[in-house]
């Protein structure tokens, strides 16, 4: 069995991490178990459920479909980067709370990261656009309706920040 390793330097939520990783180590496992950023969740390990979605150089990608070594020199944002603590939530997180957009909360980090990227591209989405953008993230609890409501509310709040 190969034990080929790579030395990598990855920026995650603004912090540079230098590590030696096995070539086969998944980026999702690297984030969760090496960097202990366990907010990124793993639901299927075959790129369907979207729970492990992170922002990779600003784009929403599935961290279970990448190797840690591929992140060398890149910039990653995870759910832990959205809010400094539980008292200061991102407007998207606040809207999710206000609209009851989560139940068990397991798929939530992936949905937040997907929607963050979406709302940066689409500032005034309609419901159909939100549903289309959400369709790569599986949620088994909510039936999506409150998530859709939350994303629409967050878009509105982000367009018109409170005075």
């Amino acid at each position: 069995m190969t034990t080929e390793t790579h030395d990598i330097a990855v920026t995650v939520n603004g912090t540079v991490y230098e590590r030696t990783v096995e070539a086969r180590l998944l980026l999702s496992d690297f984030l969760r178990h090496d960097l202990l950023l366990a907010g990124t969740h793993v639901g299927c390990e075959h790129g369907v459920c979207g729970a492990c979605t992170i922002l990779f150089d600003g784009a929403a990608v599935r961290s279970c479909l990448m190797f840690a070594a591929q992140a060398d020199g890149h910039n990653i944002e995870t759910v832990e980067g959205l809010a400094p603590d539980t008292e200061h939530l991102h407007p998207l997180q606040e809207a999710m709370r206000d609209c009851h957009g989560l139940q068990c909360g397991y798929c939530t980090p992936g949905i937040l990261m997907t929607m963050k990227a979406f709302l940066e591209e689409t500032q005034a989405p309609d419901e159909a656009q939100v549903r289309e953008a959400l369709s790569g993230n599986l949620c088994r609890c909510t039936g999506y309706q409150h998530i859709v409501d939350a994303v629409l509310l967050a878009a509105e709040r982000l367009r018109r920040p409170p005075e």
Partner: protein
Amino acid sequence: MTTRAFGAPVTRNEDARLLSGRALFVDDVELPGMLYAAFLRSNVAHARIKAIDVSAARAREGVVAVYTADDLGDYWAPGPLLVPPPPIKGITFNQRTQVPLAKDKVRHVGEPLAVVLAESRYVAEDALADIAVDLDPLPAVVDLEKALADTSACVHDGVRGNLAAHVRQSRGNYTAARARADRIISRRFFYDHGASSPIETRGIVACWDARANRLTIWDTTQAPVFLRNGLAGMLGLSERQVRVIAPFVGGGFGPKIMLFYPEEVVIPWAAKKLDRPVKWIEDRLEHFFATTHERGQIHDAEIALSAEGRILGVKDTFLHDTGAYNPYGLTVPINSQCTLLGPYVIPNYDSTFRAVFTNKPIVTPYRGAGRQHGVFVIERLLDIAARELNIDRAEIRRCNLIPPEAFPYDNEIIYQDFAPLSYDSGNYGPILEKALDMVGYRHFLAEEQPRLRAQGRHVGIGVVCYVEGTGIGPYEGAKVQVQSNGKVSVATGIGTQGQGHFTVFAQVAADQLGVSVRDIDIVTGDTDQFYWGAGTFASRGAVVAGNAVNEAAKVVRQKILRLAAEHFECAEEDLEIADGKVTVVGVPGQSVKLGELALKANPMRGAVRPGTEPGLESTQYFGPPSGATASGVHAMIVEVDPQTFTLEVLKYVVVHDCGTVINPLILAGQIHGGVTQGVGNAFYEQLVFDEEGQLLNASLADYLLPTALEAPRMQIGHTVTVSPLNPLGVKGAGEAGAIPVGPLFAQAIEDALGLTEWKIELNEIPLSPARLFELTSRRQ
């Protein structure tokens, strides 16, 4: 005066942690020196085990141990029967429960044969490939009807015809009712439920602390207390030596109430034996085989009616696929048998089922827990009856509803909780009326549908009724404790998987104790925090644990008032509790904070009166005499593309009565999620097995969970009929959304495509575009 928290759409206490990625799930537990487990699973459904050679795996660098059934020694034993059969006369039940690691024989694909413990999960999985297994395949038992034949292979040696159970329940005299009926309708129905597929798979971490002589388990279970008790027994420990923590759990929906899964038996044993923490996290492929399903039933059902559409009786005979083992007893088929009766007066009922062992994964309750199957049968029978008797579909339902004056209504058969199936309260007519109103039933049929049909559109409507037995016993408890910082701690034994317990239990306690919901800290699923309880199942958390919280909070309220009265030297009646403090009414400035009283209630010096209990705390238990029956109606307008058979749900309405509502926001979420799982069950999800017992679609790319594009926007209405069985008047709501969606889809799609003109009936679930194409191809 504080606003009442109970009944308000309060946002959730737990959300900030979950949203910021700071909530603990099982796979987030990291311990020094941890080992990682991977299981070798059978790749055939039915075989004798000739040999398992693990020597090469043991020799691999990084592997610490490899175990097979033989290594478990006396620890190896079949699991317990979790739910014994109810006391029904003449019942047959053949108990065969799952084993920790297969010995002699494998009985379904995915049954574990060996476990590898290694320094990393990657190495553990490498080592699985080193294990040589010699299996001698046997014919797989897959088809339910063939399984019952004398000539069939036997899943369990000694259980001929693979008969797991045979149960008959009846009321009245169906034969006599049939003899005087104007119309008899008989049909065969297939209803297949699926995999609950929580986004978090199962997992367990076990840590043996040799110094403390204690075992700590983090597990994705819905039943931490039972898990602790069972593991203590198996490992020869006392319950106090085992702590089970069900931290945040990423969805359950039923299969996480099942225990003891083989991994739950093997991992704690290995952790103790090796004296190192061990983690096992199920991967998605494993989940499709190693976590229990709910699957198919075949019903041969008959309904006898008067010419006016009154139900005189129903006879039903069905087969139930229980999978390779039956640790959960008869809960699922009993629910099917009982819930078929629905909200209707069915004076004569004769129902018989046989549960059948097959070489497929185990069947245990999944949200709805067999209720769907029964509801499908009665609702489809009523649709067919309406057509044959030329009665409106809503009217045939309305005229058979149990009238409000008939409650409590005794169905004269036994329910899953061993109690008589008696509906505590209900008022079904207004629910149906409201749903018809909200969906625009009469307007649609009279005007919209003809207009849209004239445009060539295939648009149909459906309306279905159901009841849900919820909130069953035995009991739950809660400990309510005022902390010296003024916050209130509430601990209960149930586990939580997203239901909002951290908020609804806080709402219950907040009004009693005059504190903000945000100042109430709920602990669920930690056996060191609360010792007793049964678990989260059967839509019972809010009903049973919620009432326990209420009882405990009431006692604490009395303690607060008594202590404050002593403090102020006044009468308790002169005191008011609000905003976290006790105030003497009408005397400004005369107040004491709850935290100060909590400190005062725990004196460190001096004498107390005999009988004094320290602290402002109370532990109380609540056990209802029987379940509270919730009810509802779903209605939908759907458009079907006649070429591709894709659906667009134009309107989806749920009207629901679950008694007093604690939190309408959370209730709506429960219903939305349930409906969407129902939509998956009705039209997208199906576990497809071949004749060899191989599951052909074991990935989320092939087993299709609804996405935001398939989930309809839902409108929800409520009616409230309080339950007389508990002080809060609540009924459960967790499963209601999921239960009636199958027959609703069948009815509305039939209507949209005008299938009855072609004498085509949709008497099976799940449907799909491909299946609709097959079923309707004889139209041309």
